[in-house]
Symmetry: C2
Subunit: 541 residues, 2 copies
Amino acid sequence: MNAYVYGYGPEGKERLIVVDLGVTFPDMDTTPGVDLIMADLAWLEENVDRIDAIFITHAHEDHIGALPHWWPRLRKPVYARKFTARIGTMKLEEAGHPSDTVTVVEPRPQVIEAGPFKVQFVPLSHSIPESSALLIDSPAGRVVHTGDFKLDGNPIVGEPFDPLLWHEIAHEAGGVKVLVCDSTNVFSPNPGRSEATLAEPLRDFIAAQKGMVVATTFASNIARLKTLAEAGRAAGRSVCLLGRAMKKMVAAAEETGVLTGMPGTVSPEEALEIPRENLLLLVTGSQGERRAATAQLSRGKYLGLELKSGDSFLFSSRVIPGNERPVIRIINNFSEMGVDVFDDTSGLYHVSGHANRPDLEAVHDLLRPKILIPMHGEHRHLRKHAKIARAKGIAAEVATNGTMLDLSGEAPRVVEYIEAGRTYLDGSVLIGSMDGVVRDRIRMALNGQVLITVIIDEDDQPLGEPWVEMVGLPTRGRTGMDLTKQIEEELADFLERASEKIIASDEKLDEAMRRISRQVTMEEIGKKPEVVVVVSRLMAE
Amino acid sequence: MNAYVYGYGPEGKERLIVVDLGVTFPDMDTTPGVDLIMADLAWLEENVDRIDAIFITHAHEDHIGALPHWWPRLRKPVYARKFTARIGTMKLEEAGHPSDTVTVVEPRPQVIEAGPFKVQFVPLSHSIPESSALLIDSPAGRVVHTGDFKLDGNPIVGEPFDPLLWHEIAHEAGGVKVLVCDSTNVFSPNPGRSEATLAEPLRDFIAAQKGMVVATTFASNIARLKTLAEAGRAAGRSVCLLGRAMKKMVAAAEETGVLTGMPGTVSPEEALEIPRENLLLLVTGSQGERRAATAQLSRGKYLGLELKSGDSFLFSSRVIPGNERPVIRIINNFSEMGVDVFDDTSGLYHVSGHANRPDLEAVHDLLRPKILIPMHGEHRHLRKHAKIARAKGIAAEVATNGTMLDLSGEAPRVVEYIEAGRTYLDGSVLIGSMDGVVRDRIRMALNGQVLITVIIDEDDQPLGEPWVEMVGLPTRGRTGMDLTKQIEEELADFLERASEKIIASDEKLDEAMRRISRQVTMEEIGKKPEVVVVVSRLMAE
């Protein structure tokens, strides 16, 4: 997830612009039950009066996903190119915000003035239309913020990489002072391949299949969807889009004029009437998302459509590290159905949307920045990118989350670390990652839970016996006896013998009963569960 | 995890032998809080009188890990080669079982007679010493059960692959009727490489590093440890083993004579006194296991030892699919420390322990079985392996968990599906995967929990107001009010208005209060939590 802030002005009073407001996705290991993860923008909220604008480089979730959640707290002008703006506006409208929040910007030469900054959007290719670098000029010099990019001379959809344009940018306005640069593929040693190289292999692949063909890729990879659809049509197949996200993305691309010449598609209902060997389904869920079309098809029907033995499934995508488990599960489900699964291991059916190491070096050489700040990627990617830059005599610094750099000198200088945690969207609420909510969930999941209810009467005497409920725990252990009853008996024994002082204190009762119940479970089942004790005290009326 | 059963005899009265009793490891997504996962052997327990013996092919956890948990329920003779037997005995002893449970077997020509079966252990190479195929002869013909294997002419530790021996096996006793064969690497298109090819690259790598070198691999990969230790010594470094599992494995290998010529090592205390550029640490935790040495070093000190900027960390291993997340986290931690991390992407520092596709085909051609049953691997691997066999005219069948095959005819025939689920070791208790224990944990983790306590007096009247506790839920939502209080108020309102009939029924009270509390949380925070309602009824005394 991404969120960058640039500032210019007297120390502590700099005017600010924000670049990108992205999300990342939760997992069971660290964030069970959470819906979305975004940066904690507390510092921006505190300094909201200093913010002049928000710029969105492109419409991938890790760059735009937090807009509907954070915009209401910042309420500043938002600038993006037309396709990105359309996606952003849809998100804002769904969250109930005004539809005129995002201002559509044309690419360079249009200049947006935001406080002391002059900002231009410069087209670069990526796996979504209109991904743009930002040219950020201020009295301190020119910053190129690349966003996500690759160097593609024929990206199928959108503008090709234009070396002359970048040459111009490198040579005007005193040259590029700072390059803030994508680092995702810094470990990929070979030059990146063009989106256009996929057309022929995909056409050959689809033409060679006998049954129904189903292909998945990112819903926002409009160029890939077009290439796949054209390959399907060339093989005489009707094309059907499955999955809400994909249909929305294609519609947005067509409405904004970014996508033209997309072959016509059929609806799922129409697809049901077409012989399977004449069908190509393009579906969501390349990362194994549980509710997306791919996962649903791997479990059975989706809108009446179903894979069968002899059909083919193509992942025209790569698995983002961390998503391997659900994707593997899906592949095995398809295997059990007798469906042949193809993925990107052959190198024929997917290309990355990020610049590889030689492409990054070409950009360094083209722009000749004085300073390079690597971004996008894990720490190891940033560190590697900084090393490469330094080896060329470019000053570089790895900036971890929350780092504030002074870029006005000859080399970047860390001036402050801002507390920059994570904010979770949990249901409809934003909570802090350190609030303890998720920690408690993880503990319940790992340890199970024991609930103890005890009633103390008006005379500080236990009324009846303690009541125990267990959730997520084995019911019997070592002795084979009912564990709930065992805990209840131990607690009843304890209450019988407990001093008045203990019974009078909620805290002491809680502590003792917690300890006893954990002792019993440890002996019986070898686990120390989470314990909640509810002491109800009857009051003399 | 693995567990195979072979039977011979009249239908329903076959005498049985068991091959391997393995475990697999839990994850947060599907098995939070679980310690180990093993096959549900209910069918074997029901038919325990028909079992004559248990054979263990090698000492990897997915082949031997369930032995201490299942042996007490089966109590049959266990056979293994000496290193495997030593590991098995250690596990059984730790669980309090007799130390003479496992019988040590020499490789072919020794024959173990078990009911109608004559079984020989035939050496094959793998990433652990002594991995063996089983030659299982019965009146119905010869079965070769490969276990995990690769074809390695120079495995550093243990016997090299011996084609003459296998030629002999293929040509005696009427030839091989059934090949039950490892399929793990069926998608790897190139011939596998020998363990011996790593010696030079590892020596060069370690010699080239300036700071401390830390290398991880599987604790049981004795050959790799020896190669690494020798490379360390060649570079003038003292070698230190870190991690309980690694020390145990090396000790077992030396005690059983499997490992000889291992360079001497220093203790962690001694290592602290040695300059870091003269040290090589061999550590556990190549899969990112939280408590292993690698993960601990990535978080700070381990037994006083600590990595620093300029040190090097080598993964002489590959990441098992599904373990990417913790491994990536570790690599980034090291990156933040300024440690250079190297992995197997260069192909120089790790080789697989499994036969690749050309090696598998070589085995097919050498053994010329009538029937092939693919094993080891996911469904897609088994399906691919069966396809390859069929293309050569070998009858093949994919047998999913619980499938019983008749192998006595010309082709395998499915005769029964046995309910074969999973058993979890949870703390010290074995529970069934369908018992609902883990399901409840997952629900608590995803949805959070609301606990409601209400007291009903002797006259069926609510006594005081309902009490609510929340665990793992945001405390405030849409209205900004305290959510616990809001639920309590709604429940109090409800109880005030509730009919006697409802209040008299635990079930109706439970249902209504559950519904109300979920309504409130849904409105306030957009989540429907798990709810536990405890109704305490005071009895007239």
